[in-house]
């Protein structure tokens, strides 16, 4: 029974992969529409040997990481301040909400005009995209801390930083982590668009470059790489969530 539940989720993906390989080999599926899986694997090995693949993956990962750190960090700090201070909330929140309504990818043309196709353009867009989900979820998490727990803390004389550290922050953490996972998704989408349109390195650039030379296998490889990296960062976030909020009933009995 156990092995069945382990294998079952993989039946359809493996079946599709096999069908793809077989129909490409016997010529039903033209290699101009989709290269067959083995070609993609060999493209990956060749590009790894030449060093281009690791270099581009590293460039993209670095952009994702730094941009996320800047945008997420700022979002977290502002969410924190606005969640705690009424004055700051009145001053900043409505302005932030207004800017939030601009889709950050719509700024791409103006960002290219400002920064050209340099690193700043990508970092700016990723930071802008990740700022809002983390800001909103931090702010909301802090605002919805159960007031009865704050009152309990008042009775037990917790004040200032210890009130924040023992009560407010852990209460807001689940909501903040939802923001983090959301922001990670946005990070990769932003990078795909920015690197495809305006870049001279990175996975997106690799894909566009391959398109010029009709290297369909490299194009498909780039798409798969994005999927893989997105999945990987989501998995890391999930593990972090499990460790950080292991007190939560949804993480027990596991």
């Amino acid at each position: 029974m156990k092995w069945k539940t382990k294998i079952l989720p993989w039946v359809i993906p493996i079946g599709l992969l096999l069908t793809w390989q077989v129909s490409a080999s016997i010529g039903i599926l033209s290699t101009r529409v989709l290269p067959n899986p083995l070609d993609i694997v060999s493209a990956a090995t060749n590009l790894t040997k030449s060093g281009q693949l690791p270099a581009d993956v590293w460039t993209s990962t670095k952009r994702a990481f730094v941009g996320f750190l800047i945008g997420g960090g700022l979002g977290f700090l502002l969410g924190l301040v606005n969640g705690i201070s009424k004055i700051s909330e009145k001053l900043l929140d409505s302005s932030i909400q207004m800017i939030r309504n601009i889709p950050h990818l719509a700024l791409l043309p103006i960002v290219i005009l400002w920064f050209g196709i340099g690193e700043e353009a990508k970092l700016f867009l990723v930071a802008l995209g990740t700022f809002f989900p983390i800001y909103l979820n931090t702010y909301h998490g802090i605002r919805s801390v159960d007031p009865s727990l704050i009152e309990m803390a008042y009775v037990y004389e917790l004040k200032g930083f210890s009130l924040f550290w023992h009560v407010i922050f852990p209460a807001a953490l689940p909501s903040i982590l939802v923001g983090v996972r959301f922001a990670l998704g946005i990070t990769w989408v932003t990078l795909i668009v920015a690197e495809t349109i305006a870049a001279d390195s990175g996975i997106g650039y690799m894909a566009m470059n391959a398109r010029e030379f009709m290297q369909l296998d490299v194009v498909v490889l780039s798409i798969l790489l994005y999927a893989l990296l997105g999945k990987l960062s989501d998995m890391i976030a999930k593990i972090a969530e499990k460790r950080l909020i292991k007190w939560h009933p949804s993480h027990q009995n596991e």
């Binding site: 727990l149 009775v155 909020i245 007190w247």
Partner: protein, 258 residues
């Protein structure tokens, strides 16, 4: 009973929430070693009275004297145990009890006090893994480790089943005697009040309607004829007045006011 100065004295306490008068004229004296139960229908103001004693609400008028001195703000002598326990779900049992402890010597007593409430083997459990009764034991330990001069119990057993409640009565009675606590219990369970308290205070529409001393020896047996008589007396007092208010309400126009 105690003869010295009362440790807490309420003089002519009144509390309004907007238009609504919750407490009208409360005078109450609490002596060292007292166990006072405050009973009454829901909405009679008994929880508000407890919150005023804890310093969580300020009275609209009247005076609160602690050891003979006027008191404003949080009552540092008192620790309150809430109906819902209010444990921090992200801290294990040990850390929940350790909240707000500043001295190392107090921290060393955590295990001992958890043993006293019967949870010596659950130090590292999460609150979500505990039953309702166990959670309230943790909340009780958390209040007791501060050695409060005044232990305030806000319907602490209201959400527990009858068997667990009787166990908790025994535990509270034992700790009250051992630690020579002064306790105030707010409850709607008259039997609970008579089982634990040496004085039962009945509150009705924001006033103290009756104070009943309970002179039965501890531990109290529920089948003792005097026990049953007292319970019935108090119940009749509360319910009898309810019947009257129902009648007088029926003369009012059929408009519900909040």
């Amino acid at each position: 009973m105690a003869i010295e100065q009362p440790i807490v004295k309420l003089l002519n306490i009144r509390k309004d929430f907007g238009e609504k008068e919750v407490l009208r004229k409360i005078d109450l004296q609490i002596h060292q070693g007292d166990f006072i139960a405050i009973v009454g229908k829901s909405g009679c103001g008994k929880s508000t009275l407890l919150r005023i004693l804890a310093g969580l609400e300020a009275p609209t008028s009247g005076r609160l004297l602690v050891n003979g001195e006027e008191w404003r703000g949080r009552n540092r002598l008192a620790k309150i145990m809430f109906q819902d326990g209010r444990l921090l779900p992200w801290k294990n049992v040990y850390d929940n009890v350790a909240i707000g402890l500043k001295e190392e010597s107090q921290k060393q007593q955590i295990e001992q006090i958890l043993q006293q409430v019967g949870l010596g083997d659950r130090l590292h459990s999460w609150p979500s893994e505990l039953s309702g009764g166990q959670k309230q034991r943790v909340a009780l330990a958390r209040a007791l480790i501060h050695e409060p001069k005044l232990l305030l119990l806000d319907e602490p057993l209201g959400a527990l089943d009858a068997l667990t409640r009787i166990e908790m009565h025994e535990l509270i009675e034992k700790l009250w005697k051992e630690k020579q606590l002064t306790a105030i219990l707010v409850t709607h369970d008259v039997e609970e009040a008579v089982a634990l308290a040496n004085r039962v205070v009945i509150i009705e529409e924001g006033r103290i309607a009756l104070e009943v001393p309970v002179r039965l020896p501890y531990p109290r047996h529920r089948d003792h004829p005097l026990f049953m008589k007292l319970v019935n007396q108090i119940l009749n007092k509360i319910l009898g007045n309810k019947r009257m208010t129902v009648e007088s309400n029926s003369n009012l126009p059929a408009v519900e006011s909040q």
